[in-house]
């Protein structure tokens, strides 16, 4: 009798994780302090904001980088996510605003950042008169200090971890959207980002505050070139902080779409605070980047709040796409729903690590998680990890996760009705993602996203590979 072979260890992620993480490339602490001063004075910020940045920098320096062994980090290829704190003011002249991949046809307000610098800002006059604000964050801090001071850092995003703290200290691209009490904004507010063309790192900070009984749809769209930005092997790094604050009975629909350059490593740190009876929907569409890791926390601390977190992604090549989410219920009678749907081709890989956390005060919570991964190629893979941590008994919680190919039954059904295989596959993939894409409150943008996803996945892909 032969000794048993040890289990196969192909593509074992534990040994991948043993790869050396990206080396720490922090500037020296004194240099970082100077850098914060340079950024803050370059953006002509008030003193209190510079002090706020310095406080965040001190926290960052007191917080170690993630070791890669934490549950939220151990599936992230460590060599592909830079551990560096480098930021620089963009050059002063960028010329006219270039056309943006996601440029809207219709909007209530628009702000466009190119390489970190605001180049275009427009606000419909009636909404401006109604008190709506959309401005670069530094400018808003000068012009409306009381408002920015009230909301900036009001969620725990700047305290998330070292990246979160650095995000608060080093941002050059800031966006502030403020909706006064009772204002219902009828069209979407757009914030466009063009990635720095020289492939330098970008630290972006988004702050959306909706006062009680207001409603707003905010769409953030970021684009880089369709291929690589750099040829020296250094991944352009993008860190995006998102703070969303919905006061009592406010309604925020937030959508973020990214098509960063193919060599970009993108990290999102997003926290949404949902007030009493407030509603929030967070749609995330992930197309570009080599590595896209989105950490999104929903904080439901007040009674009656509701939050939806709906993400889609389309992976190809060796892309690595992660959604690290938390639905944190500490308030009575609130509800939340996570839905992540993604399609993976080639050797792309997805991770969904989602936690529903219910504190003892979160009685009568309804919280759900669904993670669905459609694999179109043999090399693709997915790790859906839906987690429940529940300390209240009167709750409704469930989760479901699935991984699999395009259903042969569905393809057969469509073909039996005369639809060619290529179109049948397109219909199935489109239908699979539609639930999330169709929620984005702008038809033109939805069409652009559909086209990009089909191109990304090379649809029709490997039809009927049974």
């Amino acid at each position: 009798m032969a000794r048993l072979a040890s289990p196969v260890r192909k593509r074992d992620r534990m040994s991948e994780a043993a790869l050396a993480p990206a080396p720490v490339q922090d500037l020296p602490a004194a240099r970082l302090v100077d850098l914060v001063d340079e950024i803050s004075s370059g953006l002509d910020e008030p003193t209190w904001l510079r002090d706020w940045r310095h406080a965040a920098l001190r926290r960052a320096l007191d917080t170690p980088w993630p070791s890669g062994k934490e549950e939220e980090w151990r599936r992230t290829p460590p060599e592909r996510l830079p551990r560096r704190a480098e930021s620089a003011l963009p050059p002063s002249s960028n010329g006219a605003a270039p056309t943006h991949l996601f440029a809207p046809r219709d909007r209530a307000a628009l702000l466009h950042h190119v390489g970190g610098r605001a180049v275009n800002a427009a606000l419909r006059s009636d909404l401006e008169a109604g008190g709506l604000l959309l401005a670069p964050l530094s400018q808003a801090a000068r012009e409306h200090p009381a408002l920015v001071q009230r909301w900036l850092g009001s969620t725990h995003a700047p305290a998330f971890d070292r990246y979160g703290a650095l995000g608060a200290a080093l941002w050059t691209q800031g966006m502030f959207c403020y909706v006064p009490a009772g204002l219902q904004v009828d069209h979407s507010v757009f914030h466009l980002t063009s990635q720095p063309a020289d492939g330098s790192d970008l630290w972006a900070y988004t702050l959306v505050a909706a006062e009680r009984e207001s409603a707003v749809s905010v769409i953030e769209a970021a684009a880089g070139p369709a291929d690589d930005l750099r040829d020296d092997g250094r991944a352009p790094f993008v860190h995006h902080t998102v703070e969303l604050a919905a006061e009592d009975a406010a309604n925020i629909q937030f959508a973020t779409v990214q098509r960063w350059s193919q060599d970009t490593a993108a990290l999102t740190t997003a926290v949404a605070a949902i007030g009493r009876d407030a509603q929030l929907r967070y749609n995330s569409v992930s197309i570009g980047a080599d590595l896209d890791k989105q950490r999104i926390d929903l904080e439901l601390a007040q009674p009656g709040g509701h939050a939806d977190l709906h993400g889609v992604f389309a992976g190809r090549g060796h892309q690595h796409i992660e959604h690290i989410t938390r639905q944190h219920h500490s308030g009575l009678n609130a509800s939340s729903e996570l839905l992540v749907r993604g399609v993976l081709t080639d050797e792309s890989h997805a991770v969904q690590y989602g936690v529903i956390r219910i504190d003892p005060g979160g009685q009568k919570t309804s919280a759900f998680q669904t993670m669905r991964n459609l694999l179109l190629d043999a090399g693709a893979g997915a790790d859906p990890i839906p987690i429940l941590e529940i300390e209240a008994d009167d709750v409704k919680c469930s989760h479901a996760a699935a991984v699999g190919p395009v259903s042969a039954d569905q393809l057969f059904y469509l073909q039996s009705r005369g639809i060619p295989p290529a179109i049948a596959e397109r219909m199935v993939v489109r239908g699979f993602l539609a639930e999330v894409v169709d929620e984005i409150a702008d038809q033109h943008l939805r069409e652009v996203i559909d086209e990009l996803i089909e191109a990304q996945l090379q649809i029709p892909h490997t039809v009927v590979s049974e």
């Binding site: 694999l375 790790d383 839906p386 429940l388 989760h399 996760a401």
Partner: protein, 469 residues
Amino acid sequence: MTTTTTPVTPRSEYEFGFHDDVEALVKLPKGLSADIVNTISDIKEEPDWMRRLRLKALDHFNSRPMPHWGGELGDIDFNDIHYYVRATDRDESSWDDVPGYIKDTYDKLGIPEAEKQGLLAGVGAQYDSEVVYHNIREDLEEKGVLFLGTDQALREHPDLVREYFTTIIPPNDNKFAALNTAVWSGGSFIYVPPGVEVDIPLQAYFRINSEDMGQFERTLIIADEGASVHYVEGCTAPIYSSDSLHSAVVEIICKPGSNVRYTTIQNWSNNVYNLVTKRAVAQRDAVMTWVDGNLGSKLTMKYPAVYLMEPGAHGEVLSIASAGQGQHQDAGAKIVHAAPNTTSVITSKSLSMDGGRSTYRGLLKVYEGAEHCRSNVRCDALMLDEHSRSDTYPTMEIDEKQVDIGHEATVSKVGDEQLFYLMARGLSEGEATKMIVNGFVEPIIKSLPLEYAVEMNRLIELQMDGAIG
């Protein structure tokens, strides 16, 4: 909405909390060192390879950090534990020869009765560190079935033991498997020859009797081609004032076409740390089933695993956990699909009551190339009051496209409508709750052997008596 939030009352007295004043024949001093490991090996007169393996494992144990996940392990003092205690100096071949004081303990557990009724094919009873009594029906012995204490197997079938020992769970697998490998004592060894079907369950009972005692049994089961066997293990420990440690290792090899079912019901007293590593490999067309019941202990961390190594293998884990006051049941399952056309099912049911915490922690892994795998994971949790906690940590790592993988979990409380319906028909709230809980765990209970199903239902009711008015 306060129908189930009755005041917390102390849990009823631990049913198996008797403890015999047994004078141990051999009781090594507390603490863990190479000397202790060597002494254990000396007492057992083991072959040299086993001694070296133990010492190597001790190094692994010392060099590995404590797990930082799972339950609270900080209170374990590894230097305050007796790693070896022996109450009798040989395995007895007949029940009549077993010393009276040990018999008394087992009589209270009801073992010989069960055997006399012919329900069980063989009984091995582990009293602290050594197996004291083993019997196997003669017809099975004639077919070549081996059912021995692992120490005895090492003496009588050293080549067979050496061939399989630590092949499924290597000494450096994890900190507690390393500890077990260093100081293991007792456990069951089962070998079922090709084609032999053991038609009634083989059983073993484990008890911890001494204070500050660690129990480190090592079980090894080999089902040869086409064989089938059902092994049942129950655990109880008397209550002692200081904490005890139970850290077992179970290795199972299911050769092609074999069928192994391993049923555990643990009802350790509430001061036992139960940190167990259980793993099986299933070869072509083999079927491996773990039935895992966790009712007792202070903290259990146990995730029975099935590695599906060849096409057609099937793995199944049925898990039930009930956490009451002061308890944390961190249990689950691990299934690895390493070959095409393999299938698996995980069904987990957990109850949290009286401030207890139940955790499902699982891994489902599909390697690239393991095409046409199917797996279904289902975890349900029932919370009986607002002081308790329920967690679900299911991890899935899927590296293959042509698979059908699904996972679902729910957490809920006892439904008010269900309670109302039953109470409208004249049941008290407590009776109605018990009935609903029985229905909730029924899919697991019905897969247990009859006498265990009865015991299990009784234990759950016993636990609920403290929690439900």
